[in-house]
């Protein structure tokens, strides 16, 4: 009797049909997660750790004895950078000589004096360069046909990189008679406290994360190491940049950075010239 009544009582309990339908739907849509062998994780992790951004290096100068290309990231204000804007001087870029430059743009040792410039839109910079010099932008992986003659050439490079508001300022730098070569740099303003690795890569540098706290922009012998303050953010994404260090024959120049990214193209410049350039930049 108990068994019969108990069964009847339990049969009167109505199961929740909505829950049943939901479970049936879940079962129909459920897909088993793929099991990835551990070695695949290891390979992926190693690849990510080794290279965050691997964009082909774009050499700016190929017809001269380019020995170094440097990149500097610094917080320097735009106005503080020594630059010569070719469209302002009116000097043809490829054949620009130091003697052609206005005296106001030279300093005592023949280097360019510091001059405030007003950032102009990137598109404008490209237009000027294309029309007057046929110098490709950094985004074009072509050689720049400069008639380099040691210390007299002024090479203007459009880094081809900017963020929305600021622009790349074509810049030139000559280190005078002591330099034994030439150097040029371009710069870009990046969002405060953020440096997008992908944005640096087109400048001719390959961004390599060397460890959790540091990444390097390398191109040939030149290298810039950037410490990363938030390591967890670095993988394929933006990194916060604390400071940058530039190496030159064992010497280290520490630059405050985070706002301004400066690329230096150094063709045979002496150590002193590079140092001077860097010092000019970080003023």
């Amino acid at each position: 009797v108990f068994s019969k009544i108990y069964k009847q009582a339990m049969d009167e309990i109505t199961p929740n049909e909505d829950l049943k339908a939901s479970l049936l739907k879940t079962a129909a849509e459920y897909k088993k997660p793929k099991v990835i062998p551990l070695y695949k994780y290891a390979a992926t992790a190693a690849a990510v750790a080794a290279v965050v951004v691997s964009i082909k290096a774009v050499p700016y100068i190929t017809n001269v004895n380019t020995t170094e290309i440097r990149s500097i990231t610094t917080q320097m204000q735009t106005e503080a950078v020594a630059t010569v804007r070719p469209q302002e001087t009116g000097i043809p870029l490829q054949s620009a000589q130091m003697s052609d430059l206005p005296q106001s743009e030279k300093n005592g040792n023949g280097s360019l004096a510091e001059q405030k410039v007003t950032p102009k839109p990137k598109s404008s910079a490209k237009t000027v360069l294309t029309q007057s010099t046929q110098v490709p932008t950094a985004l074009q992986a072509e050689a720049i046909p400069t008639a380099a003659t040691e210390d007299t050439e002024v090479f203007v490079n459009d880094g081809g990189i900017s963020n929305d508001e600021e622009n790349v300022v074509p810049a030139a730098m000559n280190f005078g008679e002591d330099s034994g070569g030439m150097a040029a740099y371009s710069r870009m303003v990046v969002p405060e406290d953020e440096l997008l690795l992908e944005e640096c890569a087109p400048m001719g540098f390959e961004a390599v994360v060397t460890d959790e706290k540091q990444c390097s922009f390398v191109n040939g012998e030149a290298r810039i190491d950037v410490s990363i303050s938030k390591s967890e953010d670095f993988v394929g994404d933006r990194v916060d940049v604390g400071e940058a260090e530039v190496w030159k024959n064992g010497e280290t120049y520490t630059l405050a950075c985070g706002e301004l990214c400066v690329q230096i193209i150094n063709s045979g410049a002496s150590d002193e010239a590079v140092k001077e350039l860097i010092e000019n930049i970080v003023k």
């Binding site: 108990f2 009544i5 009582a9 339990m10 199961p15 479970l23 049936l24 879940t26």
Partner: protein, 160 residues
């Protein structure tokens, strides 16, 4: 049904639901347990030998989930709302609530024995315990039910 898991859910949902009701205090907790059980089943990568194996697994997981619910800190710190299940006959209500007042371990055995009509051996296998244990739990469960349900001379449970 498109796949085996849907087939199993469709076939054993009512059984598991009622077992969960017998193990818990009301349909709300039972639904939590049922959902937990079938989600475990859906996500399970366990290789089952046959359908009986799946059934036994579902029953065992249901009882374990009910135990987990009772042992959870949330359950011990909360008081469920009174949920009264009404039945057509008073006897059914008496039996249902008498079983519900049993300790959990007796409830499991009573439900499986009387509702699912499983043998003592099958219950022992499902609960991963000895047959002697099932027998003693069944005996004690019956005695407790008899005490709860015994009535006067005309009681339908006098032969329990």
């Amino acid at each position: 049904l498109e796949n085996e898991k849907q087939y199993i859910i469709e076939k054993y949902y009512d059984m598991i639901y009622r077992l969960a009701v017998s193990q818990t205090q009301g349909s709300v907790h039972a639904e939590d347990v049922v959902q937990d059980v079938f989600l475990k089943y859906i996500q399970s990568v366990k290789e089952f030998d046959n359908e009986e194996h799946i059934k036994a697994w579902l029953i065992r997981v249901t009882i374990n989930c009910a135990k987990s619910l009772y042992m959870s800190s949330w359950f011990t710190k909360t008081t469920p709302l009174d949920e009264e299940i009404t039945f057509e006959m008073e006897e059914k209500s008496d039996v249902y609530y008498a079983v519900h007042e049993l300790p959990l371990k007796y409830r499991s055995v009573i439900h499986l024995f009387y509702y699912e009509e499983m043998s003592i051996k099958e219950i022992a296998e499902v609960l991963k315990t000895k047959e002697a244990t099932v027998k003693s739990q069944l005996l004690r469960g019956r005695q407790m039910l008899k005490e709860k349900l015994k009535g006067g001379e005309g009681s339908v449970f006098k032969d329990l």
